[in-house]
């Protein structure tokens, strides 16, 4: 038996040590024949494992019950809130929406330029708790189209968008841990962990931004009777820039305190015994959990909420006067996550042109994806998510053809788009790309002028098969 076979079997049987792994790696990298042998044995292992019989029916149906809510009971209802609902369920009349009929709002954000001035349907005041949600999903062009609307424009449970995250960032949704990718919609009860390699940035429809520091974790919650938006910091630190809230405040909580925000910029850090709030601008009310005592903290001041010291606002920089040691958690870094450009393309999304909705599994569209036409809607197009949400111009290069299409107004799509006068929704023409491999590059520009400065472009390669 060859050495590469021996090492591959040890690997497959979980019996390799580090030295053997390194040896195997050297062999398969250096020798083409060894690589072929290794791959053939790996494929044989796969074929053998594939002979095994499994039954995932029960688990799958449980997960679907989480989505569909086919039974009654608070547990099921709670889990439903943790999951996005299938678009076809939202308006089918099959089941009453979890959020109640009052969740039906028309909250699409007006567009730029000429489109900005077009009137949209008004939202009844009694639906105010849901305005934030509907508006949140409307903020990021493209993401909004994918996650925020069903066919008649209802709101969904998506509460914000993940703008950037480190490669090891994770989302726990419905008890399952999934990779956190930039451009993803975030849903109520999602638990976001920033990972160890960098910050995770969340953006709401009104422009409010929450940035989780590396290794921090937070739960995103629905708005309620007392809050337009809620974030519960469970570990680490965050910084926030909260846009002026109309009506209900933005509420950020920790195990020790609750910060109520109308519009400001501040930092929040939590460790095992205390929570520290630093307010940079504006004003924040913080309430200590242990005794419900509260204090207003103005810009330039901080407060530490813990059981063993007074809840008193102090001037930032005067930490020495604090009775107990300052919190251990370091201040939130203010650097922008390098993975997402300050001015550039964040992601491509694949859209069903029949309903202008995102296609799950392809949004964001991964580099190297294969699009099987027979398994996809008949009309398709690509849109892009940008940071910031609006740019001066987007130029699409397709398959080496420069300036295949220019887009000035959002939504930025590979095919033509327009506003449906009846519904007020954005509609898209299907693209004309044929079967085969394609490369699409989107480049943002600061303005529509010829000498406009370009931002960070993004390229996606994909293959269309029948």
């Amino acid at each position: 038996m060859s050495r590469v076979s021996e090492l591959t079997f040890l690997l497959l049987d979980g019996a390799t040590d580090d030295a053997e792994r390194r040896e195997l790696e050297r062999l398969v990298v250096d020798e083409a024949a060894a690589a072929r042998e290794h791959i053939a044995l790996m494929e044989l292992e796969g074929a053998l494992l594939a002979e095994q019989r499994v039954d995932v029916t029960r688990e799958t149906m449980q997960r679907i019950a989480d989505v569909a809510g086919s039974t009654t009971g608070q547990r099921v209802m709670d889990r439903i809130k943790q999951q996005p609902r299938p678009a076809w369920k939202k308006n089918s009349g099959i089941q009453k929406p979890v959020t109640g009929s009052s969740a039906r709002v028309s909250g699409m954000q007006p567009k730029v330029s000429a489109r900005r001035s077009r009137a949209r349907r008004a939202t009844p005041a009694s639906f105010a708790p849901w305005i934030g949600i509907a508006a949140a999903v409307a903020l990021i062009v493209g993401v909004a189209l994918f996650f925020s609307r069903s066919q008649n424009g209802n709101a969904t449970e998506a509460v914000a968008t993940l703008i950037s995250a480190a490669s090891d960032a994770r989302i726990v949704r419905g008890g399952r841990s999934i990779s956190a990718e930039a451009g993803e919609g975030l849903f109520a009860n999602d638990q976001l962990s920033a990972g160890s390699a960098g910050v995770a940035r969340i953006e709401y429809a009104d422009g409010s931004m929450v940035e989780l520091a590396a290794k921090a974790s937070a739960n995103l919650l629905d708005g309620d009777a007392n809050a337009s938006k809620q974030v519960k910091l469970t570990n680490g630190a965050l910084s926030a820039r909260v846009a002026k809230q109309s009506g209900k405040p933005f509420v950020l909580s920790t195990p020790h305190a609750t910060a109520t925000v109308i519009g400001t910029q501040f930092e929040l850090a939590v460790d095992a015994g205390s929570t520290r709030l630093d307010v940079n601008e504006g004003r924040v009310r913080i309430e200590r959990a242990s005794d419900a005592k509260s204090v207003i903290v103005d810009g330039g001041f901080f407060v530490v909420a813990s059981a063993n010291q007074d809840l008193v606002a102090r001037k930032i920089g005067s930490d020495a006067v604090v009775v107990t040691p300052p919190v251990v958690t370091p201040p939130v870094p203010t650097v922008v996550e390098p993975a997402v450009p300050a001015f550039g393309i964040v992601a491509f999304h694949l859209v069903d042109t029949s309903n202008s909705q995102p296609i799950r599994g392809f949004s964001p569209l991964q580099d190297g994806a294969v699009l099987e036409l027979r398994a996809l809607p008949k009309g398709l197009t690509l849109t892009v998510v940008t940071n910031p949400k609006e740019v001066g111009k987007i130029i699409f290069d397709v398959d080496g053809k420069k300036s295949f299409k220019d887009e000035v107004d959002p939504p930025y799509s590979l095919s033509a788009n327009w506003i449906d006068k009846t519904t007020g929704q954005d509609r898209f023409n299907p693209w004309t790309l044929g079967v085969g491999k394609h490369t699409v590059t989107a480049t943002p520009y600061e303005s529509n002028k010829a000498n406009a400065k370009a931002g960070a472009a993004l390229t996606v390669r994909f293959e269309i098969v029948k």
């Binding site: 079997f9 995932v56 086919s70 294969v370 398994a375």
Partner: protein, 183 residues
């Protein structure tokens, strides 16, 4: 009842009817996922996820098309994401991952044909195995047993059991190579 009829019932609100669709198609999806990932638990999770995503997008499915191919396509895209995630976590031993990604990108039809051919060759070659080898293979792969358990069942040491399984797999690979070359 055929899949298309069941899916129509699901779309009309009979969510529970989807269970029979999962039961009917899960083996095909399982093969796609586990044959690449080799990770039992992760594969189960992705198979479940593939069916959940299919359910969530059921209104987009053209019932005149093959549901198995559709859900297998979803599963393959989930596998791609998982392989990329693994590559981001560690660049070590990525030769196989790169090979699989290239294979997946070659197209669904080629991939389905390759899977069918490999499975048919494997079935032919397994029939030729000596009784003891076939038994060990069955205990390891069909019954998902560890080497300790297998060694106890066949009355050998763990090392001897490992060696027997290694020889069996080498023999199978050589047989499959010959079989696929003839085909």
């Amino acid at each position: 009842m055929d899949t298309a009829s069941i899916l129509q019932r699901v779309l009309k609100g009979e969510t529970d009817a989807y269970a029979s669709v999962v039961a009917q198609h899960q083996t095909a999806v399982w093969r796609v996922v586990v044959s690449i990932l080799h990770d039992h638990e992760k594969s189960r999770e992705l198979v479940e996820q593939a069916f959940v995503e299919a359910y969530l997008s059921l209104d987009q499915f053209d019932s005149s098309r093959d549901f198995t191919l559709w859900v297998k396509g979803i599963a393959r895209n989930l596998v791609r994401e998982e392989l990329r995630r693994k590559t981001r976590e560690s660049k070590r031993l990525e030769v196989y991952r790169e090979h699989v990604l290239a294979r997946l990108n070659a197209g669904e039809e080629e991939e389905n044909a390759r899977e069918d051919e490999l499975r048919a060759s494997l079935a032919r070659c397994r029939e030729k195995l000596p009784e003891q080898s076939a038994r060990v293979l069955n205990l390891r792969y069909q019954q998902n047993k560890g080497f300790d358990e297998i060694a106890t069942e066949i009355g050998r040491t763990v090392d001897a059991t490992r060696q027997l399984l290694q020889r069996t797999r080498v023999g199978l690979k050589e047989c499959i190579d010959r079989s696929m070359a003839q085909a």
